[in-house]
Structure formats: structure tokens, C-alpha cells
Amino acid sequence: MDFAANLFSTGTLSQILVGLSRTTILFIVSSGMSLILGVLRIPNVAHGSLYMIGAFVAWTVIQFLGGGLFAFLAALVVAPLIVAAVGFVLERGFFSYLYEREHLMLLLLTFSFALILGDLVKIVWGPEYRSVTVPAFFQGSAEIFGLPLPWYNLFLLIVGPCIAVFLWLVINKTNLGKIARAAAVDGEMVGAVGINVGWIFAFTFVLGSFLAGLGGALIAPMVNISLGMDHSLIMEAFLIVIIGGLGNMWGALLGSLIFGLTQSLGILVWPQFGIAFPYLAVVAVLVVRPRGLLRSTW
């Protein structure tokens, strides 16, 4: 098979667009994780579970409202909010008591929550697969050089940049965001000037959880909502955060782009071993820049 010819075929553009739509989901989830990692210093293993809960809640909302575009859009709002509420309870109820302890304790706690939340999902929603239909509005696909690109993927291509801009505004243009950034660099100093760091942490964790829930709700129509969807994502999200630079939002974006694009283009070049490409990219990045592409906040 001629690899080079594959890479410069008409399929390339459609493959890049498909890769970018995948990047959107990866970015939304990993940016939330990176945010929490940067400010709270928690490697949140339970982040994938929050994403899974987002998908299940989206399913429930859509079922409750009887489907259709409105129900889907409502789910995109309600699911992240509920997940954010779960995040709030987790942070205030549990994590906030452990900030003074070693990081290992926090890591263990997030790991235990990954298991607990997984079981809770099973108790609430059961072990059956759930499926959300793409609303009629997004059904079907556009043609790009004779190859289909689902309308829903195009929708994701619009959502991704919107979220990136929203996050940029929150972090750079709001007081809360500025304080959170300061707390990421030196939490003690922020506390010393009379700011309640605890609430800054809570805000960051809730925002991160919101993003995880949004990622779950957005992926819901594309996949089979099931137990275990958290595990497959959490690995990718961690790798993205690591290659991007721990705690760096733009690093998460860059990492997602590398991950999403190497995969979709890798499939085009060598379909049999398409899965290997993103991981090879991760290895390549870490060899060249062991601390990640962008400056880590750690």
C-alpha cells in the first residue's frame, strides 16, 4: 500500500475534519482535568467517571423530555450542571479535607471515587447499554470530496472553539480566573492576601467537573453509553495533559490536537495500526520535551 499517496488523497481533508471533531471532545474533557491538576494539584482519576455520569444524565434528560432537538440541547445544559453539582459535593465534602496531606492521599481518594462513582452509575442506571439518538436536526452527513462527514461532527467543530474561547475568557478576564491562576502558582500567598482559597479551589473543581459533564453529554449521541466508558477516556485524557504540560490549558488543547489528528491521519496512512499513532506521538513528544510541550504550572 502506498502510504504517501494515501496521505495526499481526497480523503485527507475529510479525515482532518473528523480528527478535529474528535479533538473537541478530548479537549473539553482534558482541559477540565488540566484545570483541576493545575490549580488543585489533584490528578483526578475520577474525572472519567464524571464524564460517564454526564453521558448517563444526558440520556436520562433526553428520555424524560421525549427526544428531539430541544431535549438534546436541554441535556447539553442540564447534564454538565448536575455533574458540576456532583463535583461540588466531592470537593467540599471530601477533597477539601486532604489538601494539606500528601498528593498520594489525594490520588488514592480520586481513585476510590472512580470506583465508587462507577458502582453508583450501575446502581442508578443499571448495567445495560444506553443509547442517545442524534437529534433529527443533526442526522445525516455532508459530502466532502465524496466522503461523508456527519453533521454532528461539524457541530462539534463549532462547539470546540466556543468552549476554548469561553475558558480563555473565564481564566483571563474574570477576577475568579485571575485568582485561580494565582492560586495555582502560590496558594499560600493568595490566602495571605485575604482570599478564601478554599472557595477558589471549589470553583475550579466545579468548572472542571462541568467540562467533564459537557464532554459526556456531547459524546452521548455518538456512542454506546455504558459502564467502562470512563476507563477508555481517562487514559487518553492523562496522556494529553502530560504531553501538553501539566495544568496548562493550552497544553491540553495542543495535546488534544496532536492526539486527535495523529489518530485520524494515522488510520489513513496505515489502517491496520491506526491505534498506535497517537501513542507514538506521545512518545516522540516526551522524548523531545519530557516536561510537556508548554510550560507546566507544577
Binding site: 480523503g11 480528527g19 452527513s141 466522503l147 456527519p150 449521541p221 466508558m229 485520524s264 489502517p271
Partner: protein, 402 residues
């Protein structure tokens, strides 16, 4: 020193006595299977089918005057846990035989243990052809189809079609490769004209198939063999529906037409997908099948899936074999079960004597919308009799001799 050694021995013997005391007046079946996580979609049906049959048998006075009882152990889809549980069931619970598991690696481990312990083991959902093939032995039985059987059945149906350029795509794990190879290798022998254009493999649990689908479309094969399992079944079908893949290139998936794949998608599953399945609650439209569906729905308020058939027949085979043996004895049970043929909701099922693999029909069909159900069903169903797609006894003997 002597005291230290004897104390555990005493405790152990007490356990054994207690165990054998319970086993004395009932037939005790030990289930090792995955009862947590996504696999329960399939395993709960096996257990419920078994329970339904066992309750009916017990209501009629049981087998040789004894009631069928069962204990379950959750292996959490992990072979090491499954093996420990199986040991515990044999040693502490003193079960008469073991039943399970959906994980093929667990099934092979438990099968090996059962060979050493001389305890019969009926595998009810694991799809590796090694279980009753090259790794088969006197103590293991297969109550469901395996990858080799599914592959041959699909190859038989596909060989009648005129597709030439094939593409293989699937979940990159043993099941995916076994199914894909099973279908394509047999297809190649039945129709030497077919050629393999290329392959795509993705990691198990892949969520977004769109990049793979657009790449396959660009390569323009005539037909695609999609070797997905578990959650990948629905995920791939959703991606096929949203990209219109099924309308451009026809494809096949084992269990594509099964309820577990089609029901979660409602009316939005892709039409025209070829698939095979051992059980469809609406086909064959026979008296036996209707009665089975009605009984199952009454008991559990849902349609039975293939697992329900396997569980139901497992209980029947155990009961009839003990009856035929005339006593509750593990070796006699095996002798009695060999070559036994029982009526089932899908027609007669035979437990082949040479390899302990059940012979049952395979249904090949294509997904279509239904006027009666809220989900897609299989249309143009062809029933492929078990003997047409089973590896021959000679082939099994050759595989085992290796």
C-alpha cells in the same frame, strides 16, 4: 508443631463435611460469571434462563427427587478472580458442577481446573473456539456458538453473494481477530475469487469510528467484515448510521441482528446490516419458541436474548443427564450428556459426543425496520443447521492432538 498443622486440617475437614452435607439432598450448580459491569447485559440472561428452567423442574419434583439449587460468584471479568471463585465453589460449596463464564480467558482457566478436579464445567457464553476445540477435554462442555462456528456460518451465507473485494475491520483483541479470520478464511475456501483489500483495527472500547469509516469508504471495498464485540457492536452501528456507511457499503457483524445490539438503538439502528445470531425471539415463529418467549416475559418482563436460551438449555441438559444417569454422579453425568439431543425453543439441540460442543442452528439475516416493535429486527432470515457450520469431529481431533 503437630498441633499447628492439625488445627487447619480439622477446620478444613469440617468445611468439607458441612459442604457434602448440603450437597447430599440437592443438585448444586455453581455459577462463576461476570455479574458486574457491562457484561451483565449477557450474563443475567443466562442466569435468568437457567433459573426459569430450574424452577419449572423443581416444581415438578426435581431430578431423582432432588431440587436443583445454584450459587453464583462474580468474577468481575477477571480470569484470576474467576479461577479462585471456581476453586472455592468446588472445595467449600462442594458443587456438583460449574457453569459460566463470559470471559474466554476465565473459561479456559476454569476448564483446566475442572479437568484436574474432575468436575464437569458447562461454558455458557465465552466464544473462544479453543474451549471445546484444541483445549477441550472430558470435563468441559460448550453450550453456545464459538468464533469458529460463527465464522463458518457467516462464510457459508456470504459465499452465496457476489462480493469480491473484502475489507476487515474490528476490535483489536482475540475475539475480533478470531471472528474476522473465521469468516474470511472459510469464505476464501468456499469462494476462492474473494480478495482482501485491507484491514483496520481499533482498540477495544473505541468510541469514535468516523475516521475509520471514512478511510474504508475511500478504499472502496465491496463488503466489510466488521469484527466488533460487546459495546463496540452498538458504537459501530451508530457511526454507520450517522455516516450513511451502511447505504454505501454493505457490512456484516456477528450478533448484529441480536436484540442486545438492536434494542438500545430503537428506530435509529442502521438498516441493511448483515448479521448472525443463535437466538431471535421472533424467529422461528414456532409454538416452542413462542411458549419460551411468553414464559420468559412473564417471569422477567423483557424479551429473552441468546443468553436466555443457553441458560435455559443448560438447566435442561443437567436435569435430563442426571435423570438418564440414574444417580447424582459427576462421571455418569458426563457419559449421559454425551450425544444427548433435547428439544429447544429453536429446534433440537445435540450435545456432540466427540467434542462436547452443542449443535444448534445459526440465523443469518439483515436488519430492517419492524411494524410491530420499537426497534429493528432481522429480515430475510436464513436458518443454517448446526451440522452445516460445525467443525467436523476429525478436525477437532486433529486440533486437540497438536
Amino acid at each position: 508443631m503437630g498441633k499447628i498443622v492439625s488445627f487447619p486440617a480439622v477446620v478444613l475437614s469440617m468445611f468439607c463435611l458441612a459442604g457434602s452435607g448440603i450437597a447430599g439432598d440437592t443438585i448444586k450448580v455453581g455459577f462463576v460469571d461476570t455479574y458486574s459491569g457491562p457484561a451483565t447485559t449477557f450474563t443475567n440472561d443466562v442466569l435468568d434462563g437457567f433459573k426459569m428452567a430450574a424452577e419449572k423442574i423443581n416444581a415438578k419434583g426435581g431430578v431423582l427427587g432432588r431440587k436443583i439449587t445454584y450459587v453464583t460468584r462474580d468474577d468481575k471479568f477477571k480470569p484470576d478472580i474467576g479461577l479462585t471463585m471456581a476453586k472455592e465453589l468446588i472445595l467449600n460449596e462442594n458443587v456438583d458442577l460449574l457453569v459460566g463464564t463470559i470471559n474466554s480467558a476465565t473459561a479456559l482457566a476454569v476448564s483446566d481446573l475442572c479437568r484436574k478436579e474432575k468436575v464437569p464445567f458447562i461454558a455458557t457464553f465465552s466464544k473462544s473456539d479453543k474451549i471445546t476445540g484444541e483445549k477441550g477435554h472430558r470435563y468441559v462442555f460448550g453450550m453456545n456458538e464459538n468464533t469458529e462456528m460463527a465464522g463458518r456460518a457467516a462464510a457459508k451465507a456470504l459465499s452465496r453473494m457476489k462480493f469480491v473485494k473484502y475489507w476487515i475491520a474490528g476490535d483489536d483483541y482475540e475475539y475480533g481477530h478470531a471472528i474476522a479470520n473465521g469468516v474470511f478464511n472459510h469464505l476464501k475456501t468456499l469462494n476462492p475469487k474473494v480478495q482482501l483489500l485491507g484491514q483496520s483495527w481499533w482498540k477495544v472500547g473505541e468510541t469514535d469510528f468516523t475516521p475509520y469509516i471514512t478511510q474504508i469508504l475511500a478504499a472502496k471495498p465491496d463488503f466489510v467484515i466488521v469484527a466488533t464485540g460487546g459495546g463496540g457492536m452498538v458504537n459501530f452501528q451508530k457511526a454507520a448510521q450517522s455516516t450513511g456507511f451502511n447505504k454505501r457499503i454493505p457490512f456484516y457483524q456477528h450478533t448484529a441482528i441480536e436484540l442486545s445490539t438492536l434494542m438500545p438503538q430503537g428506530q435509529n439502528a442502521p438498516e441493511g446490516v448483515y448479521g448472525t445470531a443463535n437466538y431471535l425471539f421472533y424467529y422461528p415463529d414456532s409454538k416452542e419458541n413462542k411458549a419460551f418467549v411468553e414464559e420468559f416475559r412473564k417471569a422477567y418482563n423483557r424479551y429473552p436474548k441468546s443468553g436466555a436460551l443457553y441458560g435455559y438449555m443448560t438447566a435442561q441438559f443437567i436435569a435430563k443427564s442426571f435423570e438418564k444417569a440414574g444417580k447424582i454422579d459427576r462421571e455418569k453425568l458426563i457419559d449421559a450428556m454425551e450425544g444427548m439431543t433435547l428439544p429447544s425453543p429453536v429446534g433440537p439441540m445435540e450435545m456432540r459426543a466427540c467434542d462436547h460442543q452443542v449443535t444448534l442452528p445459526m440465523f443469518f439475516g439483515v436488519t430492517k425496520k419492524s411494524t410491530q416493535h420499537e426497534f429493528l429486527v432481522a429480515g430475510d432470515v436464513v436458518s443454517i443447521p448446526g451440522k452445516d457450520y460445525m467443525p467436523s469431529c476429525a478436525e477437532i481431533a486433529k486440533a486437540r492432538a497438536k
